[in-house]
């Protein structure tokens, strides 16, 4: 059974070229169910492109993306999300002219009122909508945005937008939560609180979390596994301690454009 498999995501020889640039050049790795896995690497290593390929925001040239036992490579992004692989964006994408709470409520699944015909029949969706509103309020509480619930999302600061992205992704009740540099621009104390609450969530609900992080130190403490990318390939995958002492990783960080920041 796919459900009971210890591997939630298996990526096999993923490739995507843009013109002459091999953004992702044969990446293979696995993510264990219930783990916190970090994807790290220097600038230009192909981390965000890999995320795009996994979540349907870009189409791989070749390769397999086996999520929960079925290949989702090349599937539309909204389908991948409904299957339970939900991502956030490094450059936040808030719905500026909608309220903060609406941003979060949007992400709820199983709302029959989202279908065109059902929209005309409020009795079919109103009670679910109340549940969603309460759930969204709870998620906002969790990321510390309760006070902003009725504000337009466009009025949020950069750090708050990161939190809103996270809240929206959590609201979708993902099985695999994919976070693209979620801590950049978030105040460190709050960042630690959020990491702790993600850690709690995975123990309670079996959530699997995959991070992209530029800065190794941020994620080393809480990661079970670390995947290191460089120049479009996976250099190594292992425990934080094993990765930290791997000479290839050290070389990649020293040679691979970490001076671009």
């Amino acid at each position: 059974m796919a459900e009971s498999s210890p591997t939630i995501l298996e990526v096999d020889d993923l490739r995507r070229h843009y013109g002459g640039v091999r953004a992702v050049d044969g990446a293979s790795f696995t993510v264990q169910r219930g783990s916190i896995t970090s994807l790290i690497g220097p600038n230009g290593a192909g981390k965000t492109t890999a995320f795009n390929l996994l979540t349907g925001f870009a189409r791989p040239d070749t390769g397999r993306v086996v999520f929960e036992g079925s290949d989702v490579a090349g599937h539309r992004s909204d389908r991948v999300a409904r299957r339970g692989m939900v991502r956030t964006f490094q450059l936040t994408r808030v719905l500026g002219k909608m309220r903060v709470i609406e941003n979060v409520m949007l992400a709820a699944q199983q709302q029959p009122g989202e279908r065109f015909v059902t929209a005309f029949l409020p009795t079919r969706w109103r009670s679910r909508e109340e549940e969603i509103r309460h759930e969204a309020a709870a998620v906002l509480e969790q990321v510390g945005l309760s006070e902003k619930a009725e504000d337009y999302a466009a009025t949020l600061s950069g750090g708050q937008r990161k939190l809103l992205e996270l809240a929206r992704a959590l609201m979708a009740r993902p099985r695999l939560l994919m976070l693209d540099e979620p801590m950049a621009g978030v105040n460190p104390t709050l960042g630690r609180e959020i990491l702790a609450s993600l850690d709690r969530l995975r123990h309670e609900t079996g959530l699997t979390v995959m991070f992209i992080e530029h800065d190794m130190d941020v994620v080393m403490d809480i990661s079970d596994e670390v995947i290191v990318m460089g120049e479009g390939r996976v250099i190594t995958q292992g425990t934080p301690d094993a990765v930290r002492s791997d000479q290839r990783v050290i070389d990649a960080y020293l040679s691979g454009g970490s001076g671009h920041e």
Binding site: F89, V94, G96, G113, W125, Y152, A154, A169
Partner: protein, 312 residues
Amino acid sequence: MDPLLAFGFWAYVLTVAGVYAVFVLGLQVQLGDAGLLNFGHVAFMAVGAYATGLMITNGVPMLIAIPCAVALAALFGVLIGLPTLRLRGDFFAIVTIAAGEILRIIIQNRQDETGGTLGLRRASGSWRETNNTILDWFSGRGIELDRRVPLLVITWVVAVLVALLLRHIGRSPWRRALRAVRENEDAAAAVGKPVFNLKLQALALGAAIAGISGVLFTLLQTSLYPENFEPIVTFIGFSILILGGIGSYFGVVVGSIIIAFIISGVRFLDFPLEADKVAALRYVVVGLLIMGMMAFRPQGIFGKREELHLDG
């Protein structure tokens, strides 16, 4: 008699305003809710009008022809949307204006069926007789109505019903998903919203509403000509939308009345100019009005100012 004092004339202008109001409510769904920049909206009105006219002149009963015409307009929306809705906003705008023109030129050239530039006569079929029956019914009760009143009332009842229907789904999760698509397609897709389907539904709903305005237009004009459906109609629709305020259904109603009075009313004012210059003058007036709006009240009469500066 001085047209400014004639009730029948103003009844006509108000009916035109009602037809525009319905037309622009369709645009409001597409642009205001889904963010679709549809520059070919008049094509859906043309489908509604010519489908009604062609069915009626070929002997289809009016009560069957009208819902079929509206359904055909929606279907035409789906047909236009399927290949184009994956395009970026500005490309979509260009394709829709082209689609509208192609349809108009086809109507113009298929003379045997549509009458071409000579017009499709008696497109409203037995409406005149029905209208007379209504007037007789009232005069039998001692109420003498102008012959334009029944359609005026019908048009505005339809406009209000469409607006109420849109308000009814205004707080629905469907519309929330649609607004999310307008704000950021990637964000909507990332939480599992079917972006393409939502846009297609908005386009088809807006097209159906424009189709209804085409039916009303047919009843009003009785004959249809291809030049009734030139791109200027779409842009008058956009003027109404800007004037009334994007996002406001009530704004559409008020904007329609103002613009219809300018467009139909100006030519009857007594200017010391030749007739064709007066005809051009009304567009100058509309243009100045829009420029003034942009400068002093860019959110429109009923738009929300605070939403205007919220980008990103």
